[in-house]
């Protein structure tokens, strides 16, 4: 069974979003985004994560990166409209280069990007842990 922590928001594309207590200088809420335990289990071992959109504003449902598993390639979709602030240095090939963290700790060290939310209303379109559990059951 895959883990689905309470308190996070979930998208139909199997991303999770966690609002942090940080804000940007212009007052936007900062959140972490990653892929769910269920999604990493479906993909299998990740071998590479690419995010080349840092600094860009990406609209909801648009692609912000790609994950490569041994078996397949999968795009990463923005759960909400946001500006990409940071790509997790633990995953980045020039830095930590440990894409397997997404497999071992998808909701912790395996987070993918830090974002600044540009449209808080879109959070209402995401699912709770319960709603996501229903979707994947």
């Amino acid at each position: 069974m895959s883990t689905i922590p309470e308190g996070l928001k979930y998208s139909k594309e199997h991303e999770w979003l966690k609002i942090t207590e940080e804000k940007t200088e212009d007052g936007l809420s900062i959140a972490l985004v990653g892929i769910t335990d269920f999604a990493q289990g479906e993909l299998g071992e990740l071998v590479y994560v690419e995010v080349d959109t840092v600094g860009e504003e990406i609209a909801i449902d648009e692609v912000f990166g790609t994950v490569e598993a041994v078996k397949t390639t999968s795009d990463l979709f923005m759960p909400v409209s946001a500006k990409i602030l940071e790509f997790n240095p633990l995953l980045n090939e020039d830095d930590g280069d440990q894409p397997e963290l997404i497999n071992s700790d998808p909701f912790g060290d395996g987070w993918v990007v830090k974002i600044a939310l540009t449209n808080m209303d879109e959070l209402e379109g995401l699912m709770s842990a319960e709603g996501y559990a229903d979707m994947i059951s």
């Binding site: 071992e45 590479y48 490569e68 041994v70 397949t72 390639t73 090939e93």
Partner: protein
């Protein structure tokens, strides 16, 4: 969805199950990479009971096989197996398969054809459609299970479970014998991994006990259960074709590098004339291996381009090679670009990856 008789074993081992060719099959238990390396360095056991088996019995069995199978089955001794494919009458391939020449029954020749799970129905229709001499054809796919025990330790592990001397079974030969508590199973020196080992055909009622016995006997040698994910990366490192990816009803065996199993001297062979021309005059594209100078992994369907950016081919299989730790793939490429080391580009749709043509197998033991 169909399932094998080991489904509960796979689930108890924590396997990730997926739909493969209409069967609920284990894609991995722990991790594809770990299972892959276990087969390369120690041993692994695969449940490949989804594969199809047809028995052909009759005076005309060899004639039927010689017509529909590309390789020359007249060369087979009893107890010998052969890789082959079914030409589809339009130059493409219906399926690839193994042909086993079984012991005669009541003085009548018997063969077993082992086909891909996803093609069982298509193959069944194809073989029966060409059966003009009353060969008795029986589909045993639902009655037989198949285990592949592969890797450098596989032989030693199996030897502890059988009185049959495995040294007496050369590559691509088989015999019937007892393994563990299972009597009269087919022990075949074949496989799809390039790391050696055996495949055991048994009845569905034998397979769970045999699976347990092999896992137990092999544990001290590092044998682990291995899924279809590792089976795919293992075969790809060897450059072995996978039906549906590298060979299809639109690819000829000559293009696929399977000239060695395409015996156009056989007068009755389907598509003989076409393959003769392809062998003599050459083909426009061929299946080739390539390695990528990037972290991105090539996938089926990505376009291959030359360094000028012109389209010269298409990827049929790709993965991150667990042994070599680089992305590798196979592609049909214009024959002008097949020299080893030729620089090519792989277009992912979003990025262009630098790559070069290389020899297969990618991995050498």
């Amino acid at each position: 969805m169909k399932e094998t008789f080991l489904k509960s074993r796979h689930e108890a081992l924590g396997a990730k199950m997926v739909d493969f060719a209409g069967f609920n099959m284990p894609v991995y238990y722990s991790s594809i990479k770990e299972e892959h390396l276990a087969v390369r360095n120690h041993a692994g056991i695969f449940d490949v009971s989804h594969m199809g088996e047809f028995h052909l019995k009759g005076i005309g069995a060899l004639d039927l096989i010689q017509k529909i199978c590309s390789n020359d089955a007249s060369k087979l001794a009893i107890g010998q197996a052969q890789y082959s494919c079914f030409p589809n009458g339009e130059g493409g391939i219906v399926d690839d398969l193994l042909v086993y020449r079984m012991p005669e029954e009541d003085g009548v020749p018997v063969y077993m054809l082992v086909v891909n799970a996803g093609n069982i129905e298509k193959d069944w229709n194809w073989v029966n459609q060409h059966n003009k001499r009353a060969v008795t054809i029986v589909d045993l796919s639902d009655n037989m299970s198949l285990l592949a025990i592969q890797g450098p330790k596989a032989k030693g592990i199996l030897q502890r479970l059988t009185k049959t001397d495995l040294n007496d079974i050369p590559f691509y030969h088989f015999t019937k014998g007892d393994v563990g508590k299972s009597e009269n199973v087919i022990i075949s020196n074949t496989g799809y991994t390039g790391s050696g080992g055996f495949e055991i055909y048994c009845s569905n009622s034998q397979v769970d006990e045999l699976w347990d016995e092999i896992l137990e006997a092999g544990a001290s040698d590092g044998l682990i259960p291995t899924g279809l994910g590792a089976r795919d990366t293992l075969r790809l490192e060897m450059g072995y074709c996978l039906y549906g990816n590298d060979i299809t009803d639109k690819t000829s065996p000559i293009e696929a590098g399977l000239s060695w199993i395409t015996k156009t001297y056989k007068k009755t062979l389907i598509d003989r004339a076409l393959y003769k021309v392809q062998k003599n005059k050459g083909v426009d594209r061929k299946l080739a291996g390539f390695k990528v100078h990037d972290r991105r992994v090539p996938r089926q369907g990505y376009e291959i381009k030359n360094i000028e950016g012109e389209n010269i081919g298409v990827v049929t299989s790709g993965t991150l090679s667990p042994s070599l730790e680089i992305p590798i793939g196979m592609a049909y490429i214009d024959v002008a670009y097949l020299d080893e080391g030729t620089k090519i580009l792989v277009d992912t749709g979003r990025k262009t990856l630098e790559a070069e043509v290389c020899k297969m197998p990618f991995y050498k033991n």
